[in-house]
Structures are given as structure tokens and as C-alpha cells.
Amino acid sequence: MGDIKLKKGTGILFVMAVLFISSLIYLHYGDQNTLRVGIFYGSNWEVPGTVHYEILDQAIKKFESKYPNVKVEYEKGILSNDYSEWLSEQILKGTEPDVYLVLDEDFNTLASLGALKNLDMLVGGDKEFDFNVFYSSVYKAGQYEGSQYALPMECNPTLMFVNKTLLQKEGIKVPDNDWTWDDFYDICKTIVKDSDGDGQMDQFGCYDYTWLQAVYSNGITPFNQSGTSSNFLDEKFSQSLEFVKRLEATNRNYQVTSNDFDLGKVAFRPFTFSDYRTYMPYPWRIKKYSGFEWTCIRMPAGPSGDNRSEMSALMAGMSSRTEKKQCAWDFVKLLTTDTDIQKLVYEDTSAASVLKSVNTSQDTMNLLNKDTPGDSIIDMSLLDTAIDAGVIPNRFEQYEEAYEKTDSLIKSYVDEEGDSSTFLFQMKNQIDKILKK
């Protein structure tokens, strides 16, 4: 009797053990032949007309010819605004795709959570892979605490838009790409005037030039790399602030609006590359800026810096839980380092490629300057140097909060009179408290 009982017990134990192991195996290796990709519809640069699906479909075609057994799937219809929430939900539910696009504002959270796979081993172990094909500025955007977690796929540098018509009217030459704050200030000062003599200003130097742009071009960042303290007490920071204040003063208390720019009343406006790409060609160009000729150049350099500007990036990473490591890595590589796919970035999106070779090729230039009228052509070296010198801010956990707070404090400071050193000291105290949370 006892024997039968014991045998029954062992039987149950055995069955449970088999169930346990098989369910774990099913969970981890159940679906080896499908590679899931996370992608969104529309553009993350807040411009119309971008669809990533075409790039992805081309990449899938190319990938499936190399891995005939693997089927690549992606969910359509996730809007770029909902993408971060969608991805977070998938991660919570444990159903995140093997490969997914990473917005630069999400990158830090995903890397610190461990949701993104650390790519150091794959990067180091892959002889075909050479990170020198990327601009080092964009490649660094995928790094967290010294390790690579994602590879860049697209980037979007900030450039200065110049109203050529207005400058010509005032007899001013369009500045070179290595212009400085002084050049910028001088032009703005001369251009502000009441041209039709109705007693109201109707020509302005610049619109939307922010303190942050000044800071970047003066060789400094608002917060340190690890996001633990602010750099407000640095000489370069106060220089930038003073410059913005001086520049603001040239508009003589008139609040310049985007409408003024659209009407051709403003000489300079910082724009992202994707804005340029969206509004420059037909038909957007007709709709938005019809009254003037314009071009873009790099941002002006501060006394302690050079012609740097902020840049954002879209990256591709893989889930740390993926069981198809090699497949996923190959797919990430295909999206980011394949020149054919990267060329599609210019065809199907408004962003710029992250590959040096693509950005300096004649094909790309032809493509970019197609549809653009007159001499508003983009210069090959402009894009190359702007991306190379782009600054991608480290989006640490409190970045948004710290940035918003700093921005509002500085805006009120610029509008009002006050002692800059006291202000900066107080601001540093406030912001460092947020950073140390």
C-alpha cells in the first residue's frame, strides 16, 4: 500500500517537474521564428509626412532574404505620441518586441531599467560591425553609464534658417557657416527697424533663439553628464545668458511671433533639419513660406565654443529579454548601418541619416535638392559638419523636470532686470535639489 502511495507521489512530482520545465521552455523558446519589431506611425520630430513603415518593409525584405526561416512582424498604427506609453505597457506585460525604436527621451529610462539589452558584447564580438561608420556624436546617444544600449538610426540637427530676401534687402551678405555671436548680434541690431515708417517695428533680427542654443554653442551644457548637478555657475553659462538677454533687447520689447517669421519679417530662426526638409520642398513650401527666399546655415558660435547645436536622435535597440539575440542584433545592424536602408531615411522621413558615408554621397545631395527651387540648396558639408558637431543632451531621469524649471526661471529673468550672479546662484540651488532627487 505504502509503495503504491509513494509511487503515486513520485509520479505527481515527476509530472509537475516536466510541466514546470516545459512551460518555462515554451515561454522562452516557444516562438523562435518570429522577430517582432516595435515601430510607430508618423514622425517623432513633430512634422507631418513621415512614415517609417516603408524603411522597415525594405529592411524586412532584405533581412528575410538572409534569414528565410525568420518572419519579421510589427504592429501597425501606433502613433508616435502614444509610442512611449505603448512600449512601457508592452514591457510591463512582458510582451515587448525583440527589436524596437527608442526615442531619445525614453532612452535613459529604458537603459537604466534594464529593458534594453547591453550591446557591448555584441559590438565587441562582431567583426563586421564598425562604429566608426556613425558620427561619434550620434553613436554616443545610445550610451548609458559607459555601455552601448542602442544604435542610432536617424538624427535631427538644429540649423539656423536665414531669410535671404530680407538680408538682401538690407544689403547684408548671408553669413558663413563659421559665424559667431558677434556677427549674429550685429546683423540683428541693424535689421530691426520700422521699414514702412508707420511708427511700428516691422523688421526683426531673430525669433525663437533660446538660452539653451546659446549655451550649447558656447561649449557647455546646462547639467553635467550624469545629471547630478547643474553648470549654472560656469562663466560660459552666464556669458550665454547675457548674450540671449542682449539679443532679446534688440527687438525693443516687441514679442516676435512665428507669424512674423512666416510673413518674412524676421531674419533668423533656428529650425530643425526635419522642419527644413518638411517645409522646403513642394507643396509645403508654397503653403507656408511663399513670400521670401531662405536658406539654412549652422548656429553661430559663442566666444568659448563653436558652431554647435542641439540634436535629437531616434535609435534602435533590442529587448534584454529577447531569445533571438543574434537575429535581433542583425536586424538592428541592418536598420542602422546598412547604406541602402539609411538612404531611405532621406526618401521616407524628414530626418537625417546617421552614416557619414550616406550624408556625404552625391546621391543624397541630389535627393535633398530635388524639388527645392532657386539657390536654396543644402550644402553637402553643412549637414555633415552640423551632425558631427551636434549635441545630444543626456536625458537622465529628472532631465525634463529640471529643464522645464530652468527654462521658466531663465525666461522670467530675461524679461526682468536683476543681478545675474545672484539669480544664477539661486537657480543652481533650486535645480540641484531637483537633480538630487
Partner: protein, 458 residues
Amino acid sequence: MEKRKDAAGYQHQCFTMMVLLNVIIVLFLTFTIVLTQYRVAAAQEAQKFIGTLKVMPERPEQRIIMVVFSLFFLCGIIYYKRKNEAEGKEKVLLWNVFEIIFLIFVLKELDMSYNGVIFLVVADMLIYVEDRKNKLIFLFIAFLCYMVCSYNLVTMFIPLNSFETWAAFYDWNTERIFLSVKTICEITNMVLFLIYIVILMMKDRRERERIKLLNEQLQKANEQLHEFAQEKELMGETKERNRLAREIHDTLGHILTGISVGIDAVLVLMDIAPDKAKEQLEGIGDTARRGLQDVRRSVRKLKPDALERMSLNNAIHQMIEDMSKVTNTKIYFVSYMEELEFEADEEEVIYRIIQESTTNAIRHGKATEIWIRISEKDEELMIIISDNGCGCESIKEGFGLKHIRERVELLNGKVNYQGMIGFTIIAKIPIRNKLTGKKDRDELNNLADNNDKAKDSQ
């Protein structure tokens, strides 16, 4: 006795409650976390919520599978160990290792938010730690593990999501209910564990007291036994003395009285009627001879052993017969010698060897057949006693074997044993001038017979 049973019962109840409570807590925490994972996603608050997490949460299915199966195996092992308590130490150790592995699985899946399961496993393993000192050391290590495995400590080195983070998703009231349920369960578990330890320690102490008491009783009984033995020895001595006295009185006394009275009569008759006196003396002679026979018979009766009553050959046969009858063992005795007659001390040794060996074979070897062979070669007597018993791999000389060796060595002989197949004893004894010995005895016997005859003829 009744009290001890109670303690064991309470201990068992306490442990069962701990098992149940831990299963409930672990399942409660696991399902709360997993459901929260889905609810956060459904509420479209994932992006905000993920910002509060320290590390990417485990897949919900994975967490459930790991916890449910680990709990099942943990309880299964505990139940199995208790059902089969008689199993060897190595097996228990192996089970304990598995138990710890599943414990680690559970702790890991709960992100160390609840480590009371450690108490359950400690409570389970504690009964397999024997020594009191070891128990305390084990408890100390267990408490150390409990502290090391706490969320607050581990999270300093490895990022973990605390249960509080998950509970914080809900509104204040729900969060408070979740956290208080967890705290109450944790405290209850700890209290149950403490009760369990106290009961175990009390049971332990009681057991030790009982053993001490039993030891004392045994000591007492031993002393009594010793006294009884002494008394009995004394009684036996007295009884023997009485018997001796009775024999002497009955035989020697009677005869000597007859002889002394007869001699007195002869003294009177000697001068008056010498013929009559002669007749009388013959009568006294008869009486004396009869007396002598009586004395011999009495002395024989007083002798304890068969050997002293009969020849070695007969004594051995007698012993074998008795032994076979009583124990149902077949004993074969073969002598390759013409006669089995030796010096008294040699005969004694031979008899004892055979007696001891057969007794051993039956008692220890559980033999059913015993062969005894006696042979002689080069003035050396060889006795081989073998059996079909279970033998033994390593021979430990007990009392019996030691006696045999000592006796044989006194006669300059040698003893060998081997216990691989059955058990075999080979004793070799040099025989002390057998012929002379025999001659002497024959002569002595003859002499005695002659005397008897002479007396008879007289």
C-alpha cells in the same frame, strides 16, 4: 507521556499553519504584482509607472509559473521529508539543497519583498539538526540569512522593485489595505515561527530530562541486579554447602558410623571369638567399599560438567546431542584419532573450544549446520570447527573467542579464524607426550583397580 504527545501535536499544528500562511502570502503578493502589471497597462499609465520602477519587471507569466511551481515543490519536499523520516542523512541533505533552491526562486520572484519563507524553511530544517548546540548555530545562521535577504539591504546592491512601488499604483485606501495585509501576515508568520522554536526547544529539554531520568533508573536497576547476583551467589554457596553437608552426612557419616561401630565390636570380639571378628571385619570392609562407591557416586554428582563425569568422547557426543535437540542445528562430529584421551587440562580446553565455537555459530552466525573435525599430525592436535552461518567480514574478538585464544595459548597452541564463508575456527595444540600421559593414567587406573581387587579379594 501525554504531555510530550501534546507538544509534538502543537508543534505540528504550528508548522502546518506556517506552511498555509506562507503559501497564502506568497500567492497574494505574486498575484497582486502580476495583476498590477496588467492594470497599469490597461489604465494607460505605463510610461509614468515605469519611471517609478527600479528595474524592468519580470514577465507576468514567468513570475506566476516560477512562484506556483516553486511553492508546490517546496511544500512537496517538506511533506515528503516528513513522511519518510527514516531515510538516510544524505538523502535529507539532498532534499534540503533542493528546498533552498526553490526558496531562492520564490524570494527572487517576489523581488525580496517578502522573506518570511526563510522562516518556514528554517523551521522545517531545524528538526533535522540533532545537537542542541548545532541547532543554535543553525538558527543564528538562519537569522543572518533572513537579515541579508531583506529588500532594503539587497536593493542597495541590486536594483529591485519593492511591493510598495506596486501598491503605490492604487488609490490611498487600497494601497493601505495591501500594505497592512502584508505586514499583518509577516508579523503572524514571525510569531508562529517563534512559537514553533519555543515548542521545539521545550520538547528538546523534556526529551533530555526523560533520557536523564531513564538513565538514572537504569543505573538503579543495574545496582539492584548486582546486589541480587551477589545474594544469589551467596545463596548458591550456602545451598551447595548444605548439599555437601547432607551428602557427607548421608554417606560418609553413615558408613563411618557403621565402620566405627563395627570396629568397636571387632575390638570386643577379637579376643572372644576371632572368627566372628574376622567375619565382622569382612563386613566392615564391605561397608567401607560400599561407602567408597557411595562417596564416588556423590562426588560425581557434585561435579558440574559432563566432561568430569564421562570420557571426552562421550562428553562431546553428549554436548552435541543436547545442542542439536535444543537448537535444531545439525552438528557433525568426526574424529580421525583412535582414541580421544588426553591430559585433564587438554581435554578441558578441547571441550571448551568445541562448546564455545558451536554456541557462537548458533548464536551469532545463525548456522544450521556445523562440522567438527579433530585430527592429529606431527604431535599436534588440530580442531576445525566450521559452519554455514552468515560469518562476518571483520572479526572482532569477543569474550568467547578471547577465552578460547587464552586457553589454547596456555597450552602453547595457536588459533586462527576466518569468517568469509560461514565461520571457521582452526585450533592447533601440541600434545604433551600423549603416550606417557596415557600410560600414566592406565597405570594409575590399574593400580587403583588392583587395590580394589586386592581389597575385594581380602
